[in-house]
Symmetry: C2
Subunit: 154 residues, 2 copies
Amino acid sequence: MKKKKSPGPKDDSQARREEMISRLKERGFRLTPQRLAVVEILSVSSGHPSVERIYEEVKRRFPTTSLATVYKTVSVLKELREVLELGFPDGSNRYDGKKPYPHPHLICTRCGTVIDPDIPGIDHLAEELGRSYGYRVLHHRLDFFGLCPRCQED
Amino acid sequence: MKKKKSPGPKDDSQARREEMISRLKERGFRLTPQRLAVVEILSVSSGHPSVERIYEEVKRRFPTTSLATVYKTVSVLKELREVLELGFPDGSNRYDGKKPYPHPHLICTRCGTVIDPDIPGIDHLAEELGRSYGYRVLHHRLDFFGLCPRCQED
DNA sequence: CTTCATGCAAAACATTTGCAGCTGG
DNA sequence: CCAGCTGCAAATGTTTTGCATGAAG
């Protein structure tokens, strides 16, 4: 009875992977093994991996892959709006290929864990705000920083 | 009848400047002319100036001032929680000496204008969120990006 | 085949750091 | 006086770029 309402995480990943591949194709980008590997990793990872992390994973399958290529591919996906970039002022970057649209994050500043809390109403707030100030609001970002349960113990 | 309820912007600035100077003093930091100039600018500017911008202003009064000194001073004020750093992933940094605590921003991505919209309830949301996820939420950040009225015209 | 992607290395760039000399308190 | 600050320049570290080679379509 819930087969359709809540597809398993595997189905989600697969759908995202296919979506990303379609977009790349239709925009005329080549589907190289390296790109497919990056897409694969982004569609599967729920931990908001960093470029470095993606690089490590890709190298596991294609040892010659360069960091520059990962940067380039991620950049392409970002432009296609198929991945959400969570850049931080300190230079670190995390990527979300599962939910490539603005949404809140709850971030542990010690271990780096990033989770997606459920906070409805932010998109609506963005619209409202734009109206009151005469701005055309295009995107937004809401991050909460703190210590996760585990990191509070030590 | 409203003398006490809403102090003018000049009074605010003065209060902030004195507050910052007190903090520096009580923590044993020296009050050099360069530092005082940085403090002055931060307490007066409502436009969320960048380091570069602060540097330009300081140089007007103390032409020999180096960029490194501005960075160091701003960094000190940041640690004392007397200035809010708004760092962006692209490397740009804006500073707010008037409201050195987390608050939402509405940012024009074209001209760089930053304003402080009034959005009550965010702090409360942070608390609530921490409770539901077991996190100790220490700070947060909420930015809306878009085009200001003027930049929409062109 | 032609064009675009890859991968290496070098460039780019804002911020940080080391250190000699200066100066606030 | 003298620890801390300034200012110069060099270092840092990550992301970007140029270009020759290689592979997708």
